[in-house]
Symmetry: C2
Subunit: 253 residues, 2 copies
């Protein structure tokens, strides 16, 4: 597989960096091709502005997604964005490697998503999203570290259910773009771990990556499960953490 790892951590001695290095080593040993976008090292600009386009379709007022659509058609992105789009379209597996900050990705990585996951390329008009998204046929995985303990992200845990926490990334970003989602790899409570535990985390990640091509993807709903009212059709059982039947409505509606 061609693998793209997008990595966001400000410190080269971090455990995130060790996870990145582990993934690079193992994926290459397994015969995969790997590209890396090291966002901090690149000085990646995360702020979406009018300056992201070499020409404007609507110069009087910026509608960012509409300019993205035109730029997708006319190769009208600035070079830093186009280079990332090219990497994204070359990959068969996307891995985001980051520390979980405020239940999400660091701002520099959110900006990579805002600017690179462009309208007209990864989603857009004509029903281009979810299983019809621009990145369909590819897979994606979150690999992140936490300050918290795993029991805090159980369904009855302090922080709430892990897949609810990650819904905006798994469903709202990966799924929306057509990516099939693999279970995340989580390096739990890193600052409370000793050397042996960190080594065990790295070994677990290495073992996971050796079998990465054969993993099952997370359950989702294809577009065809939804009616013209954008709601699950009668008879379709909700099968994700973000979908459920409204209160008082039985499965058959």
């Amino acid at each position: 597989m061609n693998v793209l790892i997008v990595y966001a951590h400000p410190e080269p001695r971090s455990f995130n960096r060790a996870l990145l290095d582990t993934s690079l080593r193992v994926l290459k040993e397994e015969g995969h091709t790997v590209e890396v976008s090291d966002l901090y090292a690149m000085g990646f600009n995360p702020v979406a502005t009018a300056g992201d386009f070499t020409e404007r379709r609507f110069p009087h007022a910026l509608q960012y997604d509409r300019e993205q659509k035109q730029a997708s058609q006319r190769q009208g992105f600035t070079d830093d964005i186009q280079a990332e789009i090219d990497k994204l379209l070359r990959c068969e597996l996307l891995i985001l490697q980051f520390p979980l900050w405020w239940f999400s990705v660091p701002a520099i990585m959110k900006g990579w998503i805002d600017r690179v996951f462009a309208n007209g390329t990864v989603y857009g008009a004509g029903g281009k999203r979810f299983d019809q998204g621009g990145l369909k046929g590819r897979k994606a995985m979150l690999s992140f570290t936490t300050g918290c303990f795993p029991e805090m992200m159980e369904s009855d845990g302090l922080l709430g259910q892990r897949d609810v926490i990650l819904w905006h990334l798994h469903h709202g970003t990966f799924g929306y773009s057509g990516l099939q989602v693999l279970q995340p790899f989580v390096g739990w409570s890193i600052q409370y771990s000793d050397e042996a535990q960190r080594h065990a985390h790295l070994e677990a990640y290495a073992a996971r990556l050796r079998g990465i091509g054969h993993e099952e993807v997370m359950a989702t709903h294809p577009l065809a499960d939804f009616g013209p009212d954008w709601r699950l059709k009668p008879g379709i059982e909700p099968r994700t953490v973000g979908h459920r039947r409204p209160e008082g409505q039985d499965a058959a509606r």
Copy 2:
């Protein structure tokens, strides 16, 4: 009330800007004091780095949250961060005004959270989080625009349940810091709205803000609902979208 509005949109003619202007006008009419952080206009830097601290406790390797803790104790933040922390601590109501990008805030606003919601100030050692968080006694609200229609964010809608989408912000950011959360204000499907519909959105927002001091906050769990295993104690009924009893376990465990 003292209100802080943090605003992120790159276009001064945007509908988000109209919502901001509406809130400024109405809140002042109602006798509130309002401060605004217009992140794009300020050129706010969203990227957390070692440069955010005027001195370092652990100079050999950056552990961002540990440096935040020391900076909170010793006023060791750079001026741009300290100015925002000061505004945050002055406010009784925080409003985030933004376009929903990838089920979340734009990167420039995520970076405002990453850098300003500092360890030692808004959360930290000694159980300083949720109802014991550093911002307790204050309220917060998301006010955002969407490209999608409201039915897409119903519990059986294409994008998933609205409060699952927003969990990382409502619970993971506001709640974690001690802020009590008001229902969001949503300007639905703005690019498909005509002038009359946009006017109606603005009127609805104005009406909402006139009564903002008397609204009920969203349901949450205090820290005391969780046991030493970080899980909901026996007998506590889950009452948020992110908490539920594990499969096969009855409410009493």
